[in-house]
Amino acid sequence: MPNMRVKQLLPPKPFEIFHMERSCCEVRLEMSSSIEYYNQLMKDAGVDGGVFAVLIGLFIVFCTAVLWRFITGSSSNRNGVLLIGLSDAGKTNLFSQLVSGTGRSTQTSLKENEASYAVEGAKRSESLTLLDLPGHEAIRQQFVEKFKDKARGIVYIVDSETFQKNIKDVAEFLFQILTDKSINKISPKVCIACNKQDKLMAKSKKVIQLQLEKELNTVRKTQSAALSSTSGSGDDNVYLGIKGEEFQFSHVKKFKLEFLECNAKSDDGAKSNIDEVKSWISSLV
């Protein structure tokens, strides 16, 4: 019994201090004292505490913004190749030829087709995405708006057989693409693929180029004279070519326009020939 009493009289061992109840007041005192210590440090260094906090906040925001832009907005992220054109030009067929090497029967597209396309001889990190957008007049503008920011290259497909009949529509759509503000900002490479070359009445690419130049000259005039839209805007489109001169494709330097011939269908004896298109796409990488 005297031993026990002696035990109680001994002072608490160090580890016992941890188990002792610390009241919140004690904790708060400790914290405030450490805060005062750091404040004192900063005051000695000459830095005001409030300003310091704001600076740290701004720095974090800045870092986030830089990271964000680096992740999403860089040009290396734009690896889409858009296949656009009028309805029935052969876009979906060309898409299937490029992606799988086989032709397939197709119907009018209601939605876009998307697939990744591996360029031969290129690094794996440089794979492109082929996007086949529908050509029907009512929905094509929506899809172009959706995917134009992803475009590294645009393939504008023209039906060489019915070109003469539809030249006004072909020219109008091409004009809309070439004068679009955001497309001009990105300035992807554009090629005009004259499809269905296996048909008897197909025009060659030189003829198509000449006729399109003449038509675009006229369209340029009429579109600039068109009425402004109800919302008041709609006149921010870029002027195509050089003012006062007849329009020529060589005036439009930023898109590096090229004319190609191709033939996407591979039945009825004619083999499909899309080599020009393939080599053009490889040149994008």
């Binding site: 979906t92 299937s96 992606v99 799988s100 086989t102 397939r104 029967s105 197709t106 119907q107 009018t108 597209s109 209601l110 939605k111 876009e112 087709n113 998307e114 697939a115 990744s116 086949d132 529908p134 029907h136 007049e137 009512a138 929905i139 503008q141 929506q142 006004k168 529509d169 109008e172 006229t218 369209v219 005039k221 009429t222 579109q223 004279a225 068109a226 009425l227 402004s228 839209s229 109800t230 919302s231 805007s233 709609g234």
Partner: protein, 624 residues
Amino acid sequence: MLDFFTIFSKGGLVLWCYTFQGVKTNFSEPINALIKSVILQERGGSALFNHGALQMKYKLDNEFELVFVVGYQKILSLLYVDKFIDDVHRTFRDRYRQKLLEGSLILLTTNFDFESMFTKMLRNAEETKTQQVVMKKFHESDKAKKTVKSLVIDQNKKDGKETENKAKVIKKGSPKSITNGTGSVESSPKTQRETESPEIARNREKFIQKRTKVAKATMKEGKKAPERKGKLNRVWDKGGTAKDTKDLDYSAPPTMTNGHSNEQVEKEELTEEQRALCRNIRALDDDDEDEEIEELEVDEKKSSGGFFSVFRGLVGAKGLTKEALQPALDTMGDHLIAKNVAADIAKKMCDSVATKLEGKVLGTFSTIAYTVKQSLNESLVQILTPKRRVDILRDVLESQRAGKPYVITFCGVNGVGKSTNLAKICFWLMENGFRVLIAACDTFRAGAVEQLRTHTARLSALHPPSMHGGRESVHLFEKGYGKDAAGIAMQAINTAREMRHDVVLVDTAGRMQDNEPLMRALAKLIAVNSPDLVLFVGEALVGNEAVDQLVKFNQALADHSNVQNPRTIDGIVLTKFDTIDDKVGAAISMTYTTGQPIVFVGTGQSYPDLRSLNAKAVVNALLK
């Protein structure tokens, strides 16, 4: 009997196609017509489409982005096609589910070997159709299963003592029903209830059923179900036979052993029954409370499920059902109607959005309301976007090169602004250097010719000949009042050709759409002169009337012309656009009804107040 069956993706790749034997033609052309006119014009509410002699039914799979189309001859009325498409859809989806979930690459390279299953299903469908419905024999019918006794109407219960007997009968009936259990509840009270109305019978049965639940807990179950007696002689209490003398003897005081006297017995019975009723009522209340508690519990369970189902709805992989879409669609439909879209157009738009979204799997963190709004936005922009190139100046240049005048005709009902907008369009054309001839074919309304004369004078002043190389850029061709409009138009066009005018603007009189002689006159004018552009002038203030006007105008133009391909309305001029704030629904009604684009928008009464339609801005204002 079918002609063809196709399955293709919404991106246009044909996955599988089947043409029946003996059918040689290529079906891509009618299918393209189906896509262009039905799906792209948002007429997706009805799944039927006629193209020549061919009738096509289609079904959209919104989860895997597929379209199923079946075609057959219109004269055959095949009844199994709807169910057949659904069956094929389900089978195809289940079989190729894995492949369909991967991207377009797999769709391109797989060869869908569906033919054997398809022919099997087709044979089944055709066979079920040909099965004759065999009439049931009498002994198979329900009537033969009832006993004769149940069909007998008990004559004695008919009148007089009905109410009393009913009361007694209920009480007698209920113990029967209690002890019989649930099975024979309907049969026993049935015989006594034939004279009542069915509703009272139903309510009574419900009441009895409730009491059976209670009775099982509270009442004794000692009573046996009495045997269904045959026809017994009615025994009247104190009916006056010799046997009753004892009962009728009131000389002695009543004894307890005999039971009480009848009255007292009855009273006691009544009080007993009333107490029983009260007990029952209390028990019923308890029962109700029990039910309420049960319901609350169920609700709580539901709501606790609902709490988690919010997250499940965000993350889950279930497709949308029509029921889930219905409330969101109803709200959007009402919103559109509030914005002056015609009522049935709004409904049709919502139906087509429902067809496009049914079965679609929502992405993470997208609610149903947001998806519906997005889809509706896309559909509306699609409707307002022109389906053909709209460039009047280009077409005028083309006609100029060909050496003939470009003729535009304006038609519409009274007071929509035809003459005013004609003057505005004339001003615009003159600004672009064209020479215009105005034909005053409104020979009816007082002051119409003078109005156009004033406009011509003003426009001439704005564009004097000195500006355009010494030539007048605008002329008026008029022949006064009361003459035939078609004749004046023809003369005007000839004059324009001689005087080398580039454009002829023909102003017609306003007419109501159901005024038959006037519609015939207009149809004659258009059929005889075959203008390059027939513009319907409609005001933006119109509501449901727009649909009626356009339908009747188109019909009249089609009916009263004798040519094979009649000229109908080619474009719409939407006037008085500055008077509506954001209630721009008339634009939707008009373009949906005709399928033609809105070429001009009039926004005021002076010459520069002419605009072109910006589809996106209008749809944003509509869905705000």
